[in-house]
Amino acid sequence: MAIKIEDVLRNMKLENVNITIGEIVEEGKVKAEAEERKEVREESLPVGPTPKPHILDLRYWDRVLLERFEPIYMPMQDFCNLCTMGPCDLSFNKEGACGIDLKTQKARIVALACSIGASAHATHGRHLLEEMIKEFGEDHPIDLGLEVDVVAPNIMTVFGIKPKKLKDLREVANYVEQEITRVLHTIHTGQEESYLDYESKALHVSMIDHVAMELADIVQISCLNYPKGDPDAPLIESGVGALDLEKPVILVIGHNVVPARFIDDYLREKDLHDLIEIAGICCTAIDTTRYDAKAKIVGTLSYQLRIVRQGFADLIVVDEQCIRADLLRECSKLGIPLIVTSEASVRGCEDRTNDDVNDIVDDLVNGRAKGVLIRDMEKLAKVAVKTAFKSFLRRSRRNVSVNVEEEIKKCVNCGRCVENCPHSLRIDLAFARAKNGDFSLLKELEETCIACGRCEQVCHRGVRIVDVIVRIGEAKRGKVRAGRGPIKDSEIRNVGQPIVMGTIPGVIAPVGCPNYPRARRELSEIIEEFLKRRYIVVTSGCHAMDLGIEGGLYEKYGGDFDAGCLVNVGSCVANSHISGAVIKIANIFAGRNLLGNYAEIADYILNRVGAVGLAWGAMSQKAASIATGFNRLGVPVVASPHCLKYRRGYVGKFWKRDKWWVYDIKSGQKVYVEPCPDALIVCAETKEEAIVLLARLCFRPADTYLGRQIKLTHYLELGKKYLGCYPDDWHLFVRTEQDLPLKMRDELLQILEEEHGWKIDWDKKKILEGPIRKYDPGFNPTLLKDIYEKYRR
């Protein structure tokens, strides 16, 4: 008896009369007033209690979160060897020579990972800022288009200013670097004694990460003519299959658009634009195509080794982050020239910045230099283009032939590769079957392999495992909508109410790295389930690529930020527009002041905005800080099984009733509430499990009964579909019979009575006893005493 969502929606319309009461009304009113005073606000915005917060300033909010969402640690390593008093055996939560215990040590490592992640975006942002100031002047306006007035929600909420010009961002960058340094300081031996305080640091530096990302992205949007919140940003030709291999191919890899942009400009300037393919891997791919829609996206991190091994890249230019640490070795094996451009990723290459262009080109093409460092971007562009043409002429000399059969024969099926494969992929079995002509397992292997190369490191028979795998695959092709940047204020105005009411059942944000095998395939399946159900889907980074290349979803779903959309905001740094969008709901829709008002905003989001992140294969330290930054803002994240390796989750216990309470501003009471969301970061093993979990984490205490009905409908349906039954805890989300989907109401009431012992008035079909709390349309929850007091006054 599947329930059709359309029916529910239709039913709801009938009942759609008296819902604009209570908080919704209040918020509407506040909003209207706020709108009127917009001009005034611009000049004299009030500043909240915590502008430029340091570690301790928001600790009280962290304590609230950590009380509910208890950290869970899953050590990767029983020992610590961070200082020379070690190594210390901390197993079973013993203490090391400095007195630290295992849990605290794990929390310390998490805080460190988040610091590294934040430092990556901070450095990226600082680099862009200084580059753009050099080029455009420090008075260049920050401009995300006419329809984006709240240009920097993260910066406003955290730092407490609304930046107008590039120069305003310099003090933001200083602040970001200061906070990262301060958190890093705490990693030093001999500091925290409680894991809760390291978690507070992880949360803090990850919030800073969102500020850093926002800084980076608004700089590049403002200066580089990227799409500015455009729902119809162009569709980019993507996938290996999209490349025109008749042309020289310049492959750009990394996260920073600057080198690719100079090459692109140079090509246009010299009218060579149509003669060369610029193709990208990882976030540089996304940002390059925001700059020039004719550039192409090859794919995600797991394509790096694949592409190199295929030998058709005539030049590789790398910038920073997420670049394989064997790229120079791999390229030089095939004679592919490599240019490095970033201080972060020099790879031992000689600095040739001051050399003659032709000398560098010659050295690269002839293999005298395997890779070179060029720090001058104009020179880089010249060298890159010349090298690409010359190298193209030698492409045929690159020996990339693989005798698949022979390689397969070499294998003795010993399984050493499997033990070393991060996914324990059964290479041995795949090869064994292939020997007998059955290539199905090998095909399957190709689909799931992340092309990391660890298997090859241990094969004593020298089987070219990755080469075989690459040879088996087909060149994928698809379209990815170019990263549009921010969500427009008007869009927020439209969806704010349905999101907060719950009538848009949720915002699903797939963001992260696809280093979970099968992620490419599974991700699209998960997301399409939600697109069909008209959730808002907003994506970025490598996940955004996969949804296009593997899923072909951009062609099917619109780019407006509204129910059933698929919005690609951009590269990793564009994640700040996702956190920014939820912040903007609190501001534009609900009229909450942003400036220096982080805790209030996060509390608002946690209780009202049913947004959930999905990191189906997060890999990097940046992924850790991005996710943790969402967490501090009150946005839960579902992660792939690999993410357990981050060692720490924030997972609440639904069965501990006393953990789930809020202050109700309306009634003036502390009330127990349903446990929603009941985790801030939690892993799922299968896509089926992830789907149900995502739907579950969209519930919010402030849902209206209409919203709750819709959310419950999806949750129950998805439970039936994927778990084979209604989920264990659906009844916890029922406050009143009105929360129950109309068509299922009788059935559900019966279950509540029989299985959960609730008292039902069957005449009126009313629930008499059972729910955690009564439904009150004016319910106005907060977890913060100061917010409670402020609004009670």
């Binding site: 208890e70 869970i72 640690y73 899953m74 050590p75 990767m76 390593q77 029983d78 020992f79 060897n81 190594p87 055996d89 197993s91 079973f92 939560n93 295992l102 849990k103 991060p422 996914h423 324990s424 079995l429 099984p641 690999h642 357990l644 390796k645 060692r647 989750g649 997972v651 216990k653 069965w655 501990k656 985790a679 939690v682 892993c683 799922a684 093993e685 299968t686 089926e688 499990e689 149900v692 979990l693 579950r696 439970g719 994927y722 778990l723 084979g724 039954c725 989920p727 264990d728 805890d729």
Partner: protein, 168 residues
Amino acid sequence: MSVYADVQVSRSAKALEPEKLAKLVNMSKYPVLITGGKLLENEKLVDVAVRINEKGIDVIACSASSKPLIERGVKPKFTTFSLHYVTQFMLDPDFRVEGKSIDLAIYLGFMPYYLSRVLSALKHFSKIKTVAIEPFYHPHASFSFPKVKDEEYYEMLERFVGALEVRV
């Protein structure tokens, strides 16, 4: 006189023969079987889980493995919470399944690296005994199948199920 302690691993699982593992389970007060995502792909594992359940051992189905189990008549105690949640619950001494406190957990059908983390958490921070009946040896478990060849694995499962006593 002793090992210089910089080999960076603490207690490793005892690798035991299936019969011995079953005996441990038989001796435990409230054992549960926790099932993972491999049951969605592998009918044989579903079968094993069903038969373990038939011996009177409660099932906690993770990773959506409830679906094939329910189809085969199993009534899992939980269907909705991922292994990450379930582990968090189990780490809390207050956690009860219908009033009972888990003292031993059997794991079947999980991705190795995923299960490994969970076993590590329980090893360091709880007293619950963990038993991995997986095709990989799991060092962080209390007890694990030894390293076996693929073809032997199902036979070992058979032996394990066979040696389980029916609980009442």
